[in-house]
Symmetry: D2
Subunit: 242 residues, 4 copies
């Protein structure tokens, strides 16, 4: 069986600039995810904002990517428009896309959703909120092996109202001790590409070491991988005659 | 304009048997709702489990009902099967249906959903949980005039996993101080009838005096009212020829 | 890997009574499907209305069934209510369910949907309609290997309005030469069980020899099979405390 | 009651350049729609591609528009990007949006959907296809007064596969004599704005004189009009504290 080709993209800014983030992820969030997600059926590469002029997301890279993970936070505006549009195009042609945490405001996700993707948040960098992630879709491929709820002792509060289109499937709902709820795990389809947004992963807390968070992401990679439909060329749909 | 004909159905058991429930609702939950929802465009009647042999839900009553509210808790099993099936049939033919609180386990709702409608709950009759109801659908007719969140200081915890089919629209998500979340306001269509489930209303707490809860129910009545489609006779759809 | 346990249930009436149906399916529709779907990862058994007092669907059989196919037409009323409820219960607990053709009016499907499941049809037993099945969900597991459209030269017209709840996923839309359209391939979830309704298969035409129809059903079996969630006992969800 | 402010936008190119289109719509499609939709509760203005440097869609116009209709076909590329983005922004803030016919490929619709919005079509300008529009949502506000099916003797074939996200509600399905089906009436929400796509209206045929087509559009205008949520300023959702 062919390996599934995964590209993990990271802004890779906080882990350089901020000592707390660097403490959690000394080589960057992308590197922690790469190591934690390593598996026999995956071929994982990484890319980041300043890797090269195209942020490591050239046509060549994307054409060899089955599933793209995306983490970004404060430098969304520095991503080139043409690269963001390239990602949108590849998703529509079948590439899986997994925006994590503050990637809710990334250019590719917003362009795929057609909305602002704004939400409530609570900036308490020292403490965060205790967060309980509720699995509301226990027969979904993404929740296999994941308990009906699990706790993150510290996570940034992301809450409703979340300006996304109605998700196709609601997979996780998160509870925050400060009084908020959040549709924190949602699926969408765009073109023939699958999308899964998942909220944990603030750079100030070690969520990407949590076994349940990692299990969810690992499951989502397999779920988002294009089936043979991936081979379809959008062009053939243009044939106007039955 | 013709008045909208509303029937409020109540089990009417706790308010007789239990002093706390009776304290909140001395004439029954149905009577409090009747008074609080009174409006110029509505003609409201009430019915209850022991009103008559058909629980006050004869063919005559249902044939003159545009929207049926349903509150029941511990005596679901005492509702006659034929009456439950009659309600299911009227909903399919266009009658709006608004199951409240523990009506999630009522016979009509379960038969309309096709699932167990089980959920988590926390039985703390003295105190309940503080509950924050989040409006996640601010352009929906049911949320007009309702703030983006409101608090019920005491409410019975109803939480995920809630065994319902995927709602057509998620309108409210509730947060409970004990750590739970709940899809507490959801819409469904069955046949040409509209359904809105809404969770507040444990008999031990005064939720049906809360202005936001009442506003939601009042909005839901207008939303669930059958449009002219109500006039359609299911029979005409049987015509096998274009 | 454990084999997937499939039970094919058939009314098995027309193939005995009607010479044309018998001509297509001399041993019954169930037997044709059993042979055509045979594969190394499946363990297939069959059952039918008059197999035994429980229509071959005892507790023992269902407890050993991962996916149940159901074909019925004119004897829905002869299925025992308790057996229909048993099927509904097993679906809610995770058994996949694939109602075929006129099983849209079967007791288990109607009880799972909560609607009449009525539709338009055209009874032209000699000729039927030419039918083109359009794949509108090319990245869905059920459509893998299935072209974007395929034709059945003769099939019974099933058309809108189809009284089902809004499907979670629309997989196929069918076109009929007489002027009708039909949501002929739809998915639903009830409890933790997956359901796929698929319309081809009138007993007077040989649709269950069509390679695309068979591919769809074969894919649907794998899609509907319960993941490890199947092991979950509904009871554990009842724990009222986080 | 305040009037509903409607802006009808038209590319207004074919009706100038092409004698057949001009024959049907001598003053432009926008003018035909303006006259046919006139009603006491509406205040209708029109705008078109070359009306002014901003295509008649300045901030001032959009800030006074409750519902925007959009017809465009071969000059989508001539719409300024900033104007398209302005429309997307207003929709997210609550303006109703009704893209008609080939507006499926307009910049605002594609940006709101996040997909290519490509589809199959059949270019037979002399004849078109006979088209039967099936109402599959008879209790929806958009279908009130609309029969369960109606026929357009000549319409351009638009068929599946239509690359849109899964609609929130499927309202109409269209049948074409050449063998195609189409999800031709669909709703979406983006931000707090409602969207209804409706396919009839090729410039070579007189669909905008059809009473059912006009009834659908008239209903859609009222449905898409922002409720009081329209008053909400996106900014208030940014408050990070409960």
């Amino acid at each position: 069986m062919a390996l599934l080709r995964v590209t993990i993209w990271n802004e890779f800014f906080h882990e350089i600039e901020d000592p707390i983030a660097r403490g959690h992820y000394p080589q960057g969030i992308h590197e922690q995810l790469r190591q934690a997600l390593a598996a026999d059926d995956l071929e994982i590469r990484t890319a980041w904002l300043e890797k090269d002029a195209e942020h490591g997301l050239s046509e060549e890279v994307l054409s060899q990517t089955d599933v793209l993970l995306w983490w970004g936070h404060c430098r969304h505006g520095d991503v080139r428009d043409d690269v963001a549009d390239r990602v949108v195009d590849y998703v529509n042609r079948g590439m899986g896309f997994i925006p994590l945490h503050s990637a809710h405001r990334s250019k590719p996700f917003r362009r795929l959703m057609g909305t602002s993707c704004m939400l409530r948040w609570r900036a308490d960098e020292d403490r965060g909120d205790r967060c309980i992630v509720w699995n509301v879709n226990p027969n979904h491929p993404i929740t296999q092996g994941v308990p009906l709820h699990f706790t993150l002792e510290q996570e940034e509060m992301y809450g409703e109202l979340f300006f996304i289109p109605q998700p196709e499937e609601l997979v996780f709902l998160s509870w925050f001790e400060g009084g908020n709820v959040f549709r924190g795990g949602c699926t969408f389809t765009r073109g023939i590409g699958k999308i899964f947004y998942f909220h944990p992963g603030h750079e100030m807390f070690p969520s990407y070491y949590n076994e349940n968070v990692l299990r969810v992401i690992a499951n989502a990679i397999r779920w988002a991988a294009p089936p043979e439909a991936r081979e379809l060329n959008a062009g053939r749909y243009m044939d106007p005659v039955v």
